[in-house]
């Protein structure tokens, strides 16, 4: 039996390399009827902000070729209610929990990090610096390496929790952002968030989404994600979590080969609520069949 344990950040060893992507796994408990969520490497919760957010109005999702666009607008219940209503349930379900956070400015992030610091039942923070509606002086944090680094450094000061910085793919050079964030003290990186896209309702002559543009996810983006993971893996020494269109065990294994220490399953959870656990089981089966002893031997072993 292959040893599936991976260390995705110093001191954060997961039982296997399959996690769930923020915003695609609710607060976790919604999946409990379908499988034992404690069997996943970790679950990453819907992006949390300080205050609850009601999200965008109008159409929020639409399907595109082998993908989907979402413009949820980061609807969430806010950190306070998460801690009182949701985290205890996740603990009862024995899930390994990583909390995804975002804010409107650097202070928001820092405050959230401080608030979550030391709370039992949180394994790490994932900082979403790639939300299209969060700007640092007109530029998204996720696009400007300096701004990203400053943000990570500020968050770093406020918490002893391991930090995973989630990168945007909508950049000219993701390697620069990755390096900046690594230097600023991020313990790991997760990539990619969604590509910015748009859909048009021809007959109504208007954008499909209430928000005009939205985030593209699903199998369509896998080649871009795989490329970025591969590129970043060549230059950083912190662990990488690969995300983007992962729909089955073979997809997940490709990301591991490219250099990801773990993966997050996103859109696939919507189509099949059991996708993440089936992927975890499939990865195990494949590596067993290959006679692989430790998944860490397999990671980054692309020729």
């Amino acid at each position: 039996m292959v040893d599936l344990k991976v260390e995705i950040a110093p001191g954060v060893t997961l039982k296997n390399p399959v996690l769930t992507a923020s915003g695609t796994f609710g607060y976790g408990r919604e999946y409990a009827p379908y499988f034992d969520i404690s069997k996943l490497g970790a679950i990453i919760t819907k992006g949390l902000s300080w205050q609850p957010k009601i999200g965008n109005s109008g159409v929020r999702i639409t399907e595109t070729a082998c993908g989907m666009l979402n413009a949820i607008g980061l609807e969430n219940i806010g950190v306070e209610r998460f801690l009182t209503d949701e985290l205890p349930i996740l603990q009862k379900l024995n899930a390994t929990v990583i909390v995804n956070i975002f804010g409107n400015n650097q202070d928001d992030y820092a405050n959230l990090a401080a608030k979550l610091d030391g709370i039992i039942g949180i394994a790490a923070l994932e900082i979403n610096i790639s939300c299209p509606n969060v700007k640092a002086g007109g530029i998204q944090f996720g696009i400007d390496p300096q701004a990203a680094a400053k943000l990570v450094a500020a968050v770093r000061k406020k918490t002893s929790l391991p930090l995973i910085t989630k990168l945007s793919p909508n950049v000219s050079d993701i390697v620069m952002v990755a390096k900046a964030v690594e230097e600023a003290g991020s313990d790991s990186l997760s990539l990619i968030n969604t590509l910015i896209g748009m859909a048009i309702d021809l007959d109504r002559k208007r954008p499909v989404l209430g928000n005009v543009t939205g985030g593209l996810s699903g199998p369509a983006i896998k080649p871009v994600a795989l490329r970025m993971v591969y590129q970043v893996a060549q230059v950083v020494s912190i662990p990488i979590i690969g995300i983007g269109g992962i729909s089955n065990a073979r997809d997940a294994l490709e990301f591991l080969l490219a250099g990801a220490t773990a993966v997050e399953v996103g859109t696939a959870n919507f189509i099949n609520p059991r996708a993440a656990i089936e992927i975890a089981e499939g990865v195990e089966k494949y590596l067993d069949e290959q006679g692989c002893v430790k998944v860490t031997d397999f990671i980054g072993s692309l020729a």
């Binding site: 999946y31 379908y34 949820i72 919507f270």
Partner: protein
């Protein structure tokens, strides 16, 4: 909630672009079905286009099968509509909260069912469920509107429900069957003489909006079944939310997930 691969038992073409699919299901699934609940259906071919599963109302069911009625409007419905006997279909359901239990006999209330276009698939699930349990439909009216005669489906079965007491009135945009006009006209008219009735409605958003208006004006309760776009169908994508009146705080609005908190909602709560 069940997740399984089912098999098409029968695919019956109802109109040029409306198909009735009967699918196999386990007893447990069928026992969990109630009128107004739905399933997410997708192809089982391992291909990614279409990507997401699509929501369809559970229109009728037996002990080991259920039926959906599919109108072809895009790639997802088109694919499903072509599945013939024996094809495997991925099923997730029954999902959501259907219509409230309503026994007109006990309540001594009139029940108005209002269906516009494909809304009939949802409304019919109430009727079929009654028929299949040999429950009387005395005091139940069905107002069923569509663009034209050829878009009216299930007419044989609905007419046969006469014997159970159902009073059926059809109406079409072009007058090709029943009266000419919109289905809400029928409701408005009958509601005048029976303001204390119960109302279940399903149809396109503009119709539901006007049903809501009629209900509010008559100060009558009622339920609307919404059909917002869905990515997941089980409450995790937040794609299907509908703005609702926040009962906790009247000044404020909240959002509700149509898939898990609905698709059937009290008409008063929905903010269109």
């Amino acid at each position: 909630m069940y997740l399984f691969n089912s098999e098409v038992v029968k695919n019956q073409k109802l109109t040029q672009n409306i198909f009735r699919l009967r699918l196999k299901a386990a007893n447990d699934f069928c026992r969990a079905a109630t009128p107004g609940k739905f399933v997410m259906l997708g192809s089982d071919d391992g291909l990614f286009d279409p990507l997401l599963r699509r929501p369809f109302g559970i229109c009728r069911w037996g002990s080991d099968w259920f039926e959906v009625i599919i109108k072809v409007v895009g790639r997802g419905s088109s694919q499903l509509s072509k599945f013939e006997k024996g094809v495997s279909v991925a099923v997730h359901g029954p999902l959501g909260n259907g219509y409230p239990n309503n026994n007109p006999k006990n309540d001594q209330k009139t029940l108005f069912l209002v269906a516009g276009g494909m809304g009939i698939a949802s409304i019919a699930s109430y009727l079929f469920s009654a028929l299949d349990r040999n429950q009387s439909l005395a005091g139940t009216f069905l107002f069923y509107g569509a663009a034209n005669y050829s878009e009216l489906i299930l007419l044989n079965e609905l007419t046969a429900a006469d014997a159970f007491g159902l009073q059926l009135q059809t109406i079409t945009d072009d007058g090709s069957c029943g009266r000419q006009g919109l289905v809400t006209q029928l409701l408005t008219h009958e509601l005048q003489s029976r303001p204390q009735s119960q109302v279940f409605a399903c149809g396109p958003e503009p119709m539901l909006k006007s049903v809501q208006k009629v209900l509010l004006e008559a100060d009558c309760d009622g339920y609307l079944s919404l059909e917002n776009r869905m990515a997941c169908g089980f409450g995790v994508c937040l794609g299907c939310v509908q703005t609702m009146i926040n009962k906790d705080d009247d000044a404020n609005v909240k959002t509700a997930k149509v898939c898990t908190q609905g698709p059937v909602f009290p008409a008063r709560q929905v903010i269109f």
